[in-house]
Symmetry: C2
Subunit: 393 residues, 2 copies
């Protein structure tokens, strides 16, 4: 593993992923060896999952791979002509079509495979919701007992999802860092393995595959801008790592995309860390973006600066409008995914994104998971023909 801050190297570890200097340790590979077998041609006929890139994933024995069909999600093209946005091309990476309905499946597939490899029996995570349900599913599949800790206001369907996958499920008063302490306690007292963000090596590696796929699906080219909703930030770190690895292998030559983090205006530590003042007008919504203290804020800032990207905040009203707009185009977006569309509009308006840019948005989660059973009173209930005339005329 290599430290992203001081550059020091150390042997692979299942749980020691912070360097003595405080930097994050990320997994290293024998790139020369990987280059030989992971060729563009070879992977073309491999399975449509993250495991098509197995040379650059840290699981040693293929029997330990815990897979539920994660990855190789569609990259759909958006017809934006009618809107008149001053941008060349827009695609959406449809991460909601992963098992468990979010991109978190990628990271948990790798993290739980590593747990299986080391013979772990219990795994725990504190999460805003989607990492918890992904852990629940993959742990269930692997025969590992999951313990998940969710904030009190976690969307009820996600709580239900965790239960349906057999996780021992707890709600905790407060935010994600408050529930984090419960996992630490369980680690000490009950021998739980933690799969919290940046506390083990698998999740970043799994999320990295979003970057590999993006390059492969675009014919080994890269867009000029990526807009990504950012909470803990390991998706962003993963993709940045992926692009560097592909460059090292000579599989891509484009410059790295300008990476944009979108955050909830109510909770935007990365925007602040990038030196911009955010006026907090509202409490953040209970989404994956609500992470007041990302584990490695310094690395996120470095990635945004290195790629010429930026961090922006969007309001709840902008997210709501974006969710409606994407819905009318046939895309079920989560608040996080909708935030990327809101971000795109904002950056076009500012002129930061222009007509030469090709942009990829990440819809990280299925809108359904945030659904509330609606009051059906607003939906007409017909019992005779005359009613149909009245309602459609």
């Amino acid at each position: 593993m290599a430290c992203t801050r001081c550059g020091n190297h150390q042997a692979f570890s299942y749980d020691r992923v912070t360097c003595t200097c405080g930097g994050s340790l990320l997994v290293e590979y024998d790139m020369e060896f990987a280059s030989k077998t992971m060729t563009k041609m070879a992977i073309q006929s491999r399975s449509a999952s993250i495991w098509r890139y197995k040379e650059l994933l840290p699981v040693t024995s293929s029997e330990d791979i815990v897979s539920l069909g994660e990855g190789w999600t569609p990259l759909t093209y958006m017809d934006i002509q009618a809107i008149g946005l001053p941008v060349s091309h827009v695609w959406i990476k449809r991460e909601e079509l992963n098992p468990t309905g979010s991109f978190k499946a990628r990271g948990m597939s790798v993290a739980v495979s590593l747990l299986k490899e080391r013979g772990a029996r219990y795994a725990a995570v504190s999460s805003n919701g989607n990492a918890a349900s992904a852990l629940a599913a993959y742990a269930g599949c692997a025969g590992i007992q999951a313990y998940v800790f969710l904030p009190e206001d976690c969307p009820p369907l996600i709580v239900q999802e965790c239960l349906s996958y057999g996780a021992r499920t707890f709600r905790v008063k407060g935010l994600i860092q408050d529930s984090g302490q419960w996992v630490e306690v369980g680690k000490q007292l009950f021998g739980w393995s933690t799969v919290a963000t940046m506390k083990e090596p698998g999740r970043v590696e799994g999320k990295k595959t979003m970057g590999f796929e993006l390059a492969e699906q675009m014919g080994w080219k890269l867009p000029s801008v990526i807009i990504y909703p950012t909470g803990g930030g390991s998706g962003l770190i993963g993709m940045w790592k992926a692009f560097h690895e592909l460059k090292q292998m000579g599989m891509i030559s484009d410059p790295l995309p300008r990476m944009v983090s979108v955050q909830d205006a109510g909770c935007s530590p990365l925007v602040t860390a990038m030196g911009k003042h955010v006026t907090v007008l509202e409490a953040p919504a209970a989404t994956g973006m609500r992470v007041p203290r990302p584990p490695d804020l310094g690395l996120l800032v470095r990635i945004l600066k290195e790629t010429g990207g930026k961090a922006i905040a969007v309001s709840q009203a902008e997210i709501d409008a974006a969710q409606r707009n994407l819905g009318y185009r046939g895309v079920s977006s989560s608040p996080e995914g909708a935030a990327t569309w809101a971000g795109l509009l904002k950056l076009c308006e500012e002129g930061w994104i222009g007509s030469d840019d090709s942009v990829v948005l990440f819809n990280t989660c299925h809108g359904l998971k945030y659904g509330k059973s609606p009051g059906l009173e607003s939906v007409p209930l017909l019992s005779n023909l005359n009613e149909l005339f009245n309602k459609t005329s």
Copy 2:
């Protein structure tokens, strides 16, 4: 198009899909032409969607294709050793990972593309839920106004989904055939195009791709048994057609799988039509299997008989247990998908499926879509450490 009953041929029609003899007309292709370009090698590098089989889909102009990333869903292997089921292999085709969370996306992608091709402005369907939300999404994407009619007890989240995609959404007292009349009225009075099951040519063709994908994902082999939840039955008809087309092109040589229809014990017209008496003990649940009068029951009976398959009924209690079991293995199954697992257990018990059989189940829809916001009272809400000790000890 060719009649499945009398064998007569007629030219392609957007809306005349019933022969004068009463049989269903299905789309025909120039198979010799298709064989030349749709080779095993050629499709390998095509997009991971149903449109990789475009030679055998009825949309003429590629500009009219309305795609949201449907198809090429994972086929995941189930580790059944621990259960000791007397069967060789079991896979699940993960249709819940389609856009709009169900296999209905496949059919609607093709049906709405055909509507776009003919310049339709309005489209309508009566549906138990998933066809409606799929129409809503694809029509939204194509700029066509959707009108959807749902039974009164349709799962609330699916009603919400239709609204979120911009469909004009109505609930109707009664079952699916009762809401069918509203669509017919709209067709006469307002010029709506109907996309009801077996009333236009696109949906069967789209669903056919499940059969193509199954063959391709299994290395151009077929399983010995397919278990499929059956309502209107067009998925079954589509796959049957797919296997015949692949045989005609010389792409597969295995015998057709024994096709098994699973139905809800409360509504199992196909089981009855196959000559078996079903004691109705309970009202059918509001799922896609609740179709008392499938449009072409005769064809379904023929397919089951021709392939040596059968129709079976499972109870609500069996479906519930199956849903829990699949959940604990990390699979979010809808009642329809869970019914296929219940069917597998039953057929193993009967000895109809044995240790030589390889079986594919179809999880047609995401379990989430049937979710109700749970009473969160049952989920512990922790505020201090002692509580964690108490709850986990």
